[in-house]
């Protein structure tokens, strides 16, 4: 039990932070819009781990789990819309390289 109890909240949070950081890194550095979307998925996953971990160690019942399910659903919807956007970007700019899409500054 001692061993069991040695895996605590901080471990989960460490995983979550790592995942979040990787996701953020992907969002900021990737050139490909699809890769950025993948990074966003990683960030969503990191948040979900947090929800579940706080639910397990924080006496919060099943609220965390339910929230995670919601996130999964929303992430699926988000992926659908985001891919549609990426398709439209490709249509307009004939590229998905976000470095070349800087018309916001105009």
């Amino acid at each position: 039990m001692e061993v069991q109890s040695s895996i605590g909240l901080s471990h989960f949070l460490f995983i979550s932070v790592t995942l979040f950081s990787l996701g953020l890194f992907a969002v900021v550095t990737r050139k490909n819009a699809v890769m950025i979307l993948m990074g966003v998925e990683l960030i969503l996953n990191a948040s979900m781990i947090n929800f579940v971990a706080f639910s397990r160690f924080g006496n919060l019942g099943v609220n965390g789990h339910i929230m995670t399910l919601f996130v999964i659903v929303v992430a699926a919807a988000e992926a659908a819309i985001a891919l549609a956007i990426v398709l439209n970007i490709y249509k307009n700019f004939t590229t998905v390289n976000v470095d070349e899409i800087n018309s916001l500054k105009d």
């Binding site: 953020l24 969002v27 900021v28 550095t29 950025i36 976000v98 470095d99 899409i101 800087n102 018309s103 916001l104 500054k105 105009d106």
Partner: protein, 708 residues
């Protein structure tokens, strides 16, 4: 007529020519016959003046003392009242007219000559493009001259004095297209200014001392012992300053140079203004201020008169222009009048003024008739033998010449004789016989040069046959004035006895010599009479004293002597003229050697014009050029300098504006531009950059939240 009516008539007579002037001037361009209106006005004025003269000398005479005494009619009103806070007595400037015998006679003379000149001009000036304007100017002149004649104060005298000067200027320069005419008018005006400056100073001294311009009040004040600056000397100076005006207006030496040049004007103008009336205004002024003249002033006046009579007489004898001869003769005769006033023969001076006005106007109109008949030829060398062609002109001209030469039965004989008697009496009383000698010598010269003129013009053979063939007698409009003036030149208008002028009504009853009011210390010895004041002298029945009884007695003696002498001298002069120019007994062709320099000196008018050119005209021009240079260089230099400084200032300010002020504005713009440039770098348009900003901001916010 009563007194008021007389004065009203005099005022009407004075202002009618002004009405004529204004109306003729403004309608003259449209109405061809405006001159008839002006001439009618002058004729009415003439009739008025005859009525006034006859009434004055018959009705307004004081016979209380057994002889005729002039009663002056005065109409005066306050014009300006100047308050005087120091003494409390306000200074009152009066305007008014004084109608005494002198004024009545002068009014008659001026209106008569003016009317005749008007008629003469209708014929003489016909076809002139400015015909009506000529008549308007004549009207203006007549009005101004009436003003001088009638005024009872020095201020109005001065005003009208300038007005006659103006009308003289306008009429001399009437043919201003001719350079010589416009030059002559300017010369006349400027030379007159010199004299008028003195007159103005005299008038101002009088006003300063007495606070009034009115003659009678000034004389009364002098009589009661008030003198300018409390000295006899300044009374003399004041009299001489006023006399300076007369020197200018009456063309006396040394300001006589304008009158011969004034002959550039139309001949009727020369007759009216420069022979009969305006130039006599100076003599009239001296007559008006006569009571206040001291012995020194009178002596100076006599000297000026003597010089003015002899110098032009010597010039006239060699001149070849018919009008120039008459002009110098006029100066000479005016010099006679001034001389007569200076030696105290007041009534003879005035008598000579009147007779000279008629016969000299006649001479000028006669010369006008000759010039008209000869188609504007004025050189007597081109004439000769005109007697047969122009009989009326010839006989009247000859009669006027007899008058000016002093031949009996003419008025000129009476008055000239009196003037010479005056100089002789003065010489007998004071020992100044030089005046007498000059007077008689001038009488001789006058007879000679006038007969030279007559002989060269009318006698002998014609020297220019072409011009002689075209010569013709003038129309009646020109000859009738000559006949009228010739009638007025006979003795009968002045006295019943043709050889005793002093017993005639003109001198005995009409002209009273005013009593001098100068302090006794500054009178001639013979002028100090027993009766001290004017009233006392009237009481004593001494109105007939010319200065004093002593002078009158001497005059009686002198008259007989001078009559014989002047007849002899005049006769010699006439004989000389005939023997040289008519009978050629004395040959002056070629001139004897000793005469050549004298002739040249006389022919060149004593070089007066050249002298004045050197001493007055050239320095004035030099001064004017210097002032022009000063204006252009210094005054304009200052103005230009100020402009340059202003320009320099504005350049500095402009530089500050463009560099510093604009620099600041541009700098702030640049700064904004630079900041914009700087911050534009952050706006990449790339979504990832924005995300980085958001995250960095978030981290900073967290860090701040945690640390604070």
């Amino acid at each position: 007529m009563n007194e008021i009516q007389m004065l009203y008539f005099a005022l009407i007579a004075m202002f009618l020519p002004l009405v004529g002037f204004v109306i003729t001037l403004f309608t003259g361009k449209k109405l061809k016959y405006a001159y008839i209106f002006e001439t009618t006005i002058i004729t009415i004025t003439f009739i008025l003046s005859v009525i006034l003269l006859l009434n004055k000398v018959t009705t307004f005479i004081d016979y209380r003392f057994g002889y005729a005494l002039d009663v002056a009619l005065v109409w005066a009103g306050n014009w300006i009242t100047l308050p005087n806070p120091i003494t409390g007595n306000p200074t009152i400037i009066e305007l008014g007219i004084k109608f005494d015998n002198l004024a009545a006679i002068m009014l008659f003379v001026v209106s008569t000559v003016s009317m005749l000149v008007h008629y003469f001009s209708i014929a003489y000036m016909h076809n002139d493009p400015r015909f009506n304007r000529f008549f308007a100017y004549l009207g203006l002149f007549t009005f101004s001259m009436f003003g001088i004649v009638l005024t009872h104060n020095l201020l109005m005298m001065y005003m009208f004095w300038e007005l006659v000067g103006l009308s003289s200027y306008l009429l001399i320069g009437f043919w201003f297209e001719k350079k010589s005419a416009s030059d002559a008018s300017k010369k006349a005006f400027i030379v007159n200014r010199v004299g008028d400056l003195g007159m103005f100073a005299g008038v101002m001294i009088i006003f300063l001392t007495y606070g009034t311009f009115t003659f009678d009040k000034v004389f009364a004040a002098i009589n009661s012992g008030v003198l300018p600056f409390n000295s006899d000397f300044w009374l003399t100076v004041t009299g001489l300053l006023l006399f300076a005006g007369a020197i200018g207006k009456s063309a006396q030496f040394p300001l006589h140079v304008w009158l011969p040049d004034a002959m550039e004007g139309p001949t009727p103008v020369s007759a009216l203004i420069h022979a009969a009336t305006m130039v006599a205004a100076g003599v009239y002024l001296i007559a008006r201020i006569f009571p206040m003249l001291t012995a020194d002033a009178l002596l100076a006046i006599a000297i000026i008169g003597a010089l003015s009579s002899i110098i032009p007489a010597t010039i006239a004898i060699t001149q070849n222009d018919i009008k120039k001869v008459l002009a110098y003769s006029t100066i000479s005769q005016l010099g006679y009048m001034v001389l007569a006033l200076g030696v105290g023969a007041f009534n003879y001076a005035f008598f000579h003024l009147v007779t000279h006005a008629f016969f000299k106007a006649g001479l000028f109109l006669g010369s006008g008739s000759v010039i008209h008949g000869m188609h504007h030829e004025q050189d007597i060398r081109e004439m000769g033998g005109l007697r047969k062609k122009m009989p009326i002109t010839y006989y009247t001209f000859l009669f006027f010449t007899l008058a000016i030469s002093g031949v009996p039965l003419t008025s000129g004989f009476l008055s000239k004789d009196g003037v010479l008697a005056g100089t002789l009496a003065f010489g007998m009383l004071t020992g100044h016989y030089l005046f007498t000698v000059i007077g008689f010598f001038v009488a001789f010269l006058t007879a000679t040069y006038m007969f030279r003129l007559v002989i060269l013009t009318f006698h002998g053979k014609p020297r220019n046959l072409h011009k002689y063939d075209h010569a013709h007698e003038s129309p009646y409009l020109m000859t009738i004035p000559l006949i009228v003036l010739a009638l007025l030149t006979t003795f009968i208008f002045y006295t019943a006895n043709p050889i005793a002028g002093h017993s005639g009504w003109f001198l005995k009853d009409w002209v009273n010599t005013p009593q001098t009011v100068a302090p006794e210390s500054s009178r001639f010895d013979f002028m100090i009479s027993e009766a001290k004041t004017y009233d006392q002298q009237i009481e004593a029945g001494k109105h007939h004293v010319i200065h004093s009884e002593e002078y009158t007695h001497t005059m009686h003696t002198a008259e007989a002597i001078s009559m014989v002498l002047s007849l002899a001298i005049g006769g010699i002069g006439i004989l000389l003229a005939f023997s040289i120019f008519q009978w050629k007994k004395i040959s002056l062709d070629p001139l004897p050697k000793w005469m050549v320099p004298i002739h040249r000196f006389s022919y060149n008018k004593w070089y007066f014009d050249e002298l004045y050119d050197v001493i007055a005209v050239q320095p004035t021009l030099l001064l004017a050029r210097f002032l022009a240079w000063f204006d252009r260089t210094i005054v304009d230099g200052v103005v230009n300098g100020v402009a340059t400084i202003t320009r320099a200032f504005s350049m500095v300010i402009g530089w500050i504006d463009t560099n510093i002020v604009d620099g600041l504005v541009n700098f702030s713009a640049k700064l904004a531009d630079w900041f914009g440039y700087l911050f534009r770098k952050t706006q990449t348009g790339s979504v990832q950059t924005y995300i980085v900003y958001a995250i960095v901001s978030l981290i900073i916010a967290f860090v701040l939240l945690v640390t604070i």
